[in-house]
Symmetry: C5
Subunit: 355 residues, 5 copies
């Protein structure tokens, strides 16, 4: 749950700007993908080294480098050298437990966002850090793992030249990447929303231990979702208001649209949290109601038979002189008395509204 | 409950500006209604195609196009072409799960609001998205469905030339449409308020499972209402402060009035939420009180008879040598003892305040 | 509880500026009272029509028109004509479910506040809307009902020429009216505070159903009080900062004083709410404690006698061969065993801290 | 608890600026103490009338008048005349239920703060209003009662000429008075903190009715403390930012220090409130845990013996034909059966984790 | 828990600027360590008196004095004299219960922060005050105790000339010290996070008294952590925006990075608080669920046997005339009846969902 703390604390005592990977060392290969495109042209290469593709950069061309696997810190340091990134930026890229943020470094904008994925098997949200750099004519994107990214549609659109993407500059590409990340939040939220709905249905039926623990897990998930999305609002708002020449005015309408989506994601998470909190109350109330029902049964049956059993006990005593025992109709009189007592009890329960 | 998430998530991966309807495909016909009016004149037509009515636009004339049924995206795209709307605006119009918002696009203002309706049958609030565009001399309104809109009175007033509406420009028409939407919120709130009052009365009488679940549903309704109305405050506030020439100063006093109404709606929803939250507490306390009462009955009756039954049990033992059994008045002595024990119990309960 | 919603919703579909009364049509007569005073002079009349008293207006004279009974909308429309009020203002005056507010209409200031009264018979707070208009040389005040207003002292001071009121202008009169309204809030809060204190005392004694329901009612009252007073803070703050020439600088120190009072009222209401919320927690805890006590009694008595009764039951069996039954001291041995078991139980309860 | 409301409400209907004492009329004498000091000189007198000591005021001399006993409103009105205070200020001085506040009256600054004292006997916080006026060359301080003030150290320092106080102007004296008031808050908070710690210890031991009610009282105390201290933050912040010439720049560093102390007091009160709220939750949980324990005992003992008692009951029946009764080893067989049932029960409880 | 209050209150009545230590008087020696370094040179001395090392200060040299043990107030006063610190600053340095803060004193910046340590033995967070002064060419750091500081890595880096530290000025040194403090927070948070995770696991298994009290302790810890870290956000934000020449622009990017870390610490603490609050709810619900289970067992077993025992009791009565007793199959008939009753009970429980 708080694993990222372990990674953070392992950094204590290191000088700032130390480029050291803190996540689990993934086995898989690192992969560099480079797109260089203009309105009429697109080149896609996967070079072994970043320096190899410098010749592709040209005025009027948008240059997008995507790096899968930041655990190979050497590649990140290469990128830093080639594109002139600050050591603290490189540290943040490989230190994959950043809070989402945006920094205007003058020459370039640096963004950290979280890509979310719903792990069907474990029934929980998995996050992956995506660092984005928008510079003059280029966009860099750094991902933790190769599989499971949400940019496939963008790649397809660039290749096919569909939509506006080939006609626009790197700011539009940055927007498209952010938009893809945020659009995917809706997919994750849908899964969480489904889980909440299932939960609610189950809860209205029976309020047991399983529901309680699932509810607890869902509330924690919502807490973490919120932690990842909340800072995004400010990031996108600042991007839109940005004075930087890297974001042209034409892109602002798209950023405003993105901002609306982020607000909607946040709204939804807050709604989830409130619904879940209401469900926790509901659960507690349902348990109490159930207890009432159980105790009603016990109370009614106990208080019904206890006096009757006492009467039977009295006439089970072995005293030598118990006149009633000798009476001809004693037994039946006692049975009758018991009937009357039972009827009285019944009336009492009815009056106290216990039946 | 979270259906809109499904619709959103289905959009992931699509390029921005894709005009695609996400709601359920309604069967019903699409209907275009065009009002063109000035102080002395009014023309109402229902053309099959939007292009057909361009000749009605004239200086000094207010041109209002109302489209019922945004699922026919072709019509929306027509409107976009005729009135020069941005693709992102068209996308928002047909994407009927927007958060209420206002965008100043320079040439025109674009607003999204929610029209609410109380579905008597299901006992819940139903929402429908209304998108409004205010341009130079025209107002466009896009609705999801044909039936159940709240603009009938405005149409009547335009036709009859009653009130100020014919004398004023499109900004006043926009205000009137918003005012109609907000006025209808009061109708919906009244229904919800009635449900809350019924609930409260029922709750003070008995705190069972039905009340609990109804309470849960009402709290969720209030949550969703809030989500729809909250953004409206900012929209109207921004409209009022707007520098745009589309809103003239004369309209601002009306917008201020509208703002007051929105604040009042929000106040009421917050009050609902607080009252409902207080009722949830009340419910829990009532259950606990009820349990106390049940347990009091059980405790009193059990502890009353248990010692007596024990005494009877002792003299029901079959030992050969039990001197009391032979006593002439043994039986009566035991009955007397039981009476004394019972009286002592009674005193004890009285003292402990358990009776 | 939510009656005002009914009144609001009945307005849906009406054009803005419709002057229509929404409260219950009071039977009582409408009454116009006009004060025209300067430092040395005062005239009080109760004309049948507002137009009749125009000649009393003169430079250097403060002209105060008080109207009791806004249900006679004709009178309000008269006032609108005579003093040049906007239709929306008139609508707000007769529409007696406004949120307290202030509007600067240039020529005049328009204020809506709530006059509160404690209804001793029903034990709840009753509100009445007071609309105030401050113009050049005049103050208008509109009340819902004739009886029970809080301005009697002001009238007496004007008549007697006591204090500063005759020496000052209409802005001071407006302040005096607002001050009288706010001072009366303290009277109402005192009543509510008394009810809370009684409640608390009752609660510390016993936590039953009556306390629970009274607590619920008090919380709701506090909620409504807050709703009426909260907007007042902003109104008075804006009045004080007002650039308008209608409020002279000399009046600002009084408005600041009034502002302090409003803050104090709000502080008190918030304190009420927190105290009441604490009392709800206390109530729930007391119920649980009570249940513990009840169950302790049941548990101790039951577990004390149940084993003893079992022993008695064993020796009440009718087996032919039960050696103990034949023993000379069997009965007494069993009684002794029972005593030992009872003592053991006692020790056990002591140790588990159950006695 | 809400006594001050009674005092406020008694003022309703009085014209503003009425100098009337609202607290309980104290019997004790009123006492005026006048300090006039410069770096090299100090005169202390206790004149019977304020006018008598006017000749002590001189340029370069700090003139401090302290009045104990504002219930003698005549003295306050004297001070108002001599130092030119506004009637509303005088009203606030004698009206001892003010919210702490600061007013810049141009010629002078007027402050109201609360002096707190811990009443050891009643175990609660007692407040006393101190009004301070800082003018050109003078400071006035008005207290409710003679005994128990926190300025004794300041008087000693002035008399002895220790520290900076004699070298500085009236702004430093004002700061010193405020500092003494705030320093004393720490003394009060320490007492409350001790009470909370005792409470917590008691609570971890046993969660009974006493703890519940003490907790309730402590929460209310914390609520009132907060009410008195909260406005102080703004007062000191405004003093520090003050443009007024009455506060010289040299004093600002001290005011900043004071501000830090006020923040720390507020932090502590908020911490108290959170700790107390956590303890209320703890209390409720402990009660529930206790109930579980009680019920476990009852359940185990009851369910253990109830089946055994039933078996004994069966063989206590008096049927003529009950073959088991005649068996040679019937009695022992039944005892054995009971043993087996008991062992089974034991296993069941173990499995259900009830023992 | 609230020990710092005792220390604060002991200061009441003292004049401001009194340099008096308030913590426990530590026995250990005071230690002064002086670093004087430039890019190419470093001198480390531990002089007995501060005056002795004045000659080390030179232009272009960063001069860092670290004092362990502020309880020797003489040393602090020496430092004040040598570096020209204000008495209030000295007071704050020795008064080790400050709220974290920053003051711009013109000539120098004064900061107070808290160094946190996890005391493994007691399982709680221990704090130590670190006061920092950044002046022209020098940094002073004051610590409470000698052992356990977090600056060892910085000392090593200065000695070894690794990283940027030797190349940068005192502002970078100040940043490094703050960064070391904040990095160590992650270590502490990791420990707390581990404790929370252990807690959660334990809680999901069983919800007893131990868990309850540990939870209470953890919540209090989180409360205190928050109190120490919260003000840091503002400190670092103000440092970054600082106009002062003491912080050069080159250092700002590092301060921004530090700011991100502080935000992340705060986020984590808030998450802790929310998780712990959720766990308290979970605990309460689990207790209630457990109670339900216990009561179910009691109810089922009691209500099962009570009617059967009653039947047995009836036929244990000693009436002379009880026809059933004489019947040949009476006994077996009764056993059968009991079986039928038991089966009926079973069905009833199944239906009411109690088994």
């Amino acid at each position: 749950m708080f694993e990222y703390l372990k990674r953070h604390s392992s950094k204590a005592g290191k000088p700032p700007g130390t480029v050291e990977y803190v996540g689990e060392k993934a086995e898989e290969q690192v992969k560099i993908t480079v797109f260089a495109y203009s309105e009429h042209d697109v080149t896609v290469t996967t070079p072994a080294r970043l320096e190899d593709c410098g010749r592709l950069r040209a005025p009027g061309t948008v240059f997008w480098v995507n790096l899968d696997g930041v655990h190979r810190t050497g590649f990140v340091e290469d990128a830093g050298r080639v594109f002139g990134l600050h050591p603290l930026v490189l540290e943040d890229i490989v230190h994959t437990e950043q809070r989402p943020k945006m920094e205007d470094q003058g020459e370039y904008l640096f963004l950290v966002v979280k890509m979310l994925r719903w792990d069907e098997a474990e029934g929980r949200v998995v996050d992956e850090q995506v660092s984005l750099v928008l510079g003059d004519g280029f966009v860099l994107s750094f991902q933790e793992e190769e599989h499971g990214d949400v940019f496939e549609d963008i790649r397809a659109r660039i290749r096919a030249g569909k939509g506006r993407i080939r006609k626009c500059g790197p700011d539009y590409l940055l927007y498209s990447l952010l938009d893809a990340v945020v659009d995917n939040y809706f997919v994750v939220l849908e899964k969480v929303g489904d889980a909440i709905e299932d939960m609610e249905e189950a809860l209205l039926e029976s309020a047991g231990n399983t529901q309680l623990e699932e509810l607890h897990v869902l509330r924690r998930e919502a807490l973490f979702l919120r932690k990842y999305v909340w800072p995004l609002r400010e990031i996108v708002a600042r991007l839109e208001r940005q004075e930087s020449e890297l974001i042209r005015d034409g892109a602002k309408i798209y950023l405003r649209d993105l901002y609306d989506h982020v607000i909607q994601v946040m709204d939804t998470i807050e709604t989830f949290r409130e619904v879940l909190s209401g469900m926790a109350d509901l659960h507690l109330s349902k348990i109490s109601l159930k207890l009432n029902e159980i105790m009603k049964v016990l109370t009614v049956i106990s208080t019904f038979f206890i006096p009757l059993t006492f009467i039977a006990g009295v006439y089970g005593m072995n005293f030598r002189y118990m006149p009633e025992l000798e009476w001809r109709w004693g037994y039946f009189a006692v049975l009758g008395t018991m009937g009357i007592v039972a009827a009285g009890m019944w009336a009492f329960f009815k009056k106290r509204n216990l039946l």
